[in-house]
């Protein structure tokens, strides 16, 4: 039995922003993301400094990003390593992670460029009690 559950956030008009990002990605990216979840779900502690989990990062540096976390995974496409991240809300006390959206990270830039603005907007909506949560499949 996995320790962690992964949930999709649906907005009030029942759109699933994470899935909107996911379906736009190539099959290599989708497969790498799908293979990351069962592993992360089985790791009990994500934030133990003695046993670090490279695929997880809680955002703390930028005050606007506090409350958001990232799931990190890499894909090799045409012999080039590319890093992708899913942004979401990590609810440690409830043993779940709410997937909001995703992006490709290249240096300091992101693709799509407004990924964090979207994530912050969705996080605020969720914190206001708007929208619904669904099991990620």
């Amino acid at each position: 039995m996995a320790h962690w559950r992964f949930l999709d956030y649906h907005t009030e008009d029942d759109t699933n922003p994470f899935n909107q990002w996911y379906v736009l990605q190539g099959e290599e990216v989708q497969a790498a993301f799908d293979a990351t979840l069962p592993i992360l779900g089985e790791i009990e502690t994500w934030d133990d400094p003695n046993y670090p989990v490279s695929a997880f990062k809680a955002l703390t540096r930028n005050p606007r990003h506090v409350g958001l976390s990232e799931l990190i995974f890499e894909v090799t496409i045409n012999n080039r390593k590319r890093q992708y991240r899913a942004i979401g809300i990590w609810r440690k006390d409830q043993w779940d992670f709410i997937l909001l959206t995703g992006f490709e990270k290249s240096g300091r830039s992101t693709n799509p460029p407004n990924a964090f603005e979207v994530a912050i907007r969705l996080r605020n909506q969720f914190n206001q009690g708007r929208g619904t949560l669904h099991e990620h499949v």
């Binding site: 497969a31 790498a32 790791i43 890093q83």
Partner: protein, 224 residues
């Protein structure tokens, strides 16, 4: 949580997806196991590095879920550091899907080291030896008792009491089996209602008293 069918449906998307999924899971599984077992054995990265004859940097990379360039040599050395073995094998996708669904951190954490296995095997061997000794002792006692009864009967004596019922018997001249005829119906103080249900009674020529016969037949009806 994804079911086996959910995973299977995704694997059916395309060969490209399947290949990438399997590769990605393979890359992550080894670091995941190394981290889990290191935690279970309460080792720091430098401690595991020393036991594996590697550097701390190699252990750190080996635990990175996205590193993906671990050599078999490094994995083998880390396995040696844990006092465990590592085997890689080819499997069908159904096994991969089942594995992705059912693997657990606790399962990997419970893998015993060679020393733990040796100790377990020793405990198991001692336990089995104790069971064998008990069974053997009981067989000897039963054999001695059987020989004693056989000797008594062949000397024309009466067999010792079995339970509370004194029995007389004889040895069959042909087969050597002991024959102990039981009364057709229990008599006297041996007539304990409800106790005789399991005994197969043999005609012995002794007839019970009328009163007991009546009680016994009503009991027999009840248990028929």
């Amino acid at each position: 949580m994804s079911t086996f069918e959910d995973i299977w449906q995704k694997l059916s998307k395309s060969k490209k997806y399947r290949e990438e999924y399997a590769l990605s899971l393979l890359k992550k599984m080894v670091p995941f196991q190394i981290r889990t077992i290191r935690k279970k054995q309460e080792l720091s990265q430098p401690e595991l590095a020393e036991k594996s004859h590697l550097t701390q940097g190699v252990i750190s990379r080996a635990e990175n879920l996205d590193y993906g360039n671990l050599t078999l040599n490094t994995i083998g050395r880390i396995a040696g550091g844990f006092d465990l073995a590592f085997i890689g094998r080819f499997v069908p996708f159904s096994e991969l899907a089942r594995f992705a669904r059912e693997m657990s951190e606790s399962e990997f954490a419970a893998i015993p080291t060679f020393e733990q296995e040796t100790s377990l095997r020793e405990q198991m061997r001692e336990h089995l030896a104790r069971i064998n000794a008990t069974v053997q002792a009981r067989t000897v006692v039963a054999g001695e008792r059987f020989a004693e009864v056989q000797q008594t009967l062949s000397n024309g004596g009466t067999a010792p009491e079995l339970g509370t019922m004194p029995l007389s018997g004889s040895t069959n001249a042909l087969s050597g089996a002991i024959q102990i005829p039981l009364p057709l119906e229990p008599t006297g103080s041996y007539c304990r209602l409800g106790v005789q249900r399991g005994i197969h009674l043999v005609e012995s020529g002794r007839r019970p008293t009328r009163r007991l016969s009546k009680r016994y037949s009503s009991t027999r009806k009840r248990y028929a």
